[in-house]
């Protein structure tokens, strides 16, 4: 039976493959978390994005979320900004009144 098992079932991954996969996942995570540069980058981005937005829209500081995921081959920067409908209108109307 064991011969047939070997023949038909998928071979278990070798321990070195397991080691490589575990390390790749762990290090991709640790490089993201422990990177002081990333923390600084996110802080700067958060501040500057708020500054630009404040010129046109009134946005609550807590409604801007920035997330950076470092991957093996590509990294994603996710920026999530919630703009209140009223905030947008209020700013537009004031700038319109400035024009008059």
């Amino acid at each position: 039976m064991s011969f047939l098992d070997n023949f038909f079932s998928r071979k278990r991954p070798s321990s070195s493959t397991v080691a490589r996969n575990r390390l790749q996942i762990l290090l991709a995570h640790e490089r993201g978390v422990s990177g002081e540069d990333d923390t600084n980058l996110l802080r700067t981005l958060h501040r500057e994005i708020l500054e630009v937005l404040a010129r046109h829209v009134s946005v609550d500081q807590d409604n801007v979320n920035i997330k950076l995921d470092r991957g093996q081959n590509c990294s994603t920067l996710e920026i999530d900004i919630q703009v209140p409908e009223t905030g947008l209108r209020a700013q537009v109307s004031t700038s319109a009144s400035d024009l008059k």
Partner: protein, 271 residues
């Protein structure tokens, strides 16, 4: 003007001191003027591995604090005229090393030698940071084993952010040295392969030193393996690494499995 190399790893027991001694002696045998410096204050061992433990009078901390001159503290190797060792202190605390003092000693060493090899203590704390701070090159000693690879990755991050070169917007040149490599186990997929470790760490390979009895035999008698057994497999790997450090373009020899006839007939399976 010397090139300063830090031999570092994060994890302890992977072969930093063995490597410092072996690379230093190999460079010196090529006629280069070499100083090896032990930064492991409180746990010095480079003197023992190099066989000069009974000739230590002054140490790195005496020089850093100005109690002795560099000339007084350096011990000339008796087998290799151009090789000198600066031992660490065994009794003092690592806090006795000041950043300014270390800078001054490193500058003086830079003037006097062609190569300065700094044997870093394990860990990522102050001692390890002082050892790497002035480096132009880093030899990252790694075993093909998960905890060693993880710690090496931390060290890579620190070399890119906490060194004098990083502060000036330059780079420390990093080299991966894989030690205690067992080709038979790697062939059976029981050990991370050379390519696996290079892929994970993304550091160019300086050499692969196979696991060998000759390394322990050499440290037993207090000699770098490159002097004690120059024709052994680990010594050959170190000599090759040195030629690469000196700028020669040379393909890295990967140790291969020595297989017996029975292994060949009953092909061993990995798990």
């Amino acid at each position: 003007m010397a090139q300063i190399i830090v031999v570092t790893s994060g994890k302890g027991g992977v072969g930093k001191t063995t490597t410092t001694a072996a690379l230093g002696a190999a460079l010196a045998r090529n006629g280069q003027n070499v100083a090896v410096v032990d930064f492991d204050v409180g746990l010095r061992n480079l003197d023992l591995v190099m066989g000069v433990e009974r000739r230590v009078v002054f140490d790195l901390i005496n020089v850093v604090q100005g109690d002795a001159t560099l000339h007084q503290a350096l011990i000339r190797d008796k087998r290799c005229e151009t090789l000198s060792i600066l031992p660490a202190s065994q009794t003092r605390d690592k806090d006795s090393l000041t950043a300014e003092g270390v800078s001054r000693v490193m500058e003086e060493l830079r003037e006097k030698f062609d190569w300065v090899l700094c044997d870093s203590p394990a860990g990522i704390e102050r001692g390890a940071q002082l050892a790497m701070h002035h480096a132009d090159h880093a030899v990252i000693v790694t075993n093909p084993e998960v905890s060693s690879v993880r710690d090496s990755d931390r060290i890579v991050g620190m070399l890119d952010s906490r060194t004098a070169r990083a502060e000036q917007g330059e780079r420390v040149e990093k080299h991966l040295l894989l030690t205690r490599y067992d080709p038979a186990r790697a062939a059976r997929d029981e050990m991370l392969s050379v390519d696996d470790v290079i892929d994970i760490l993304s550091v160019p390979l300086l050499g692969v030193v196979p696991e060998s009895e000759d390394v322990l035999k050499a440290s037993n008698v207090g000699a770098p393996v490159t002097l004690a057994a120059p024709n052994s497999a680990p010594a050959k790997a170190y000599f090759e690494a040195v030629r690469r450090l000196e700028g020669e373009e040379l393909p890295v020899s990967i140790p291969t499995e020595k297989r017996g006839l029975l292994d060949f007939i009953f092909k061993k399976r990995g798990a």
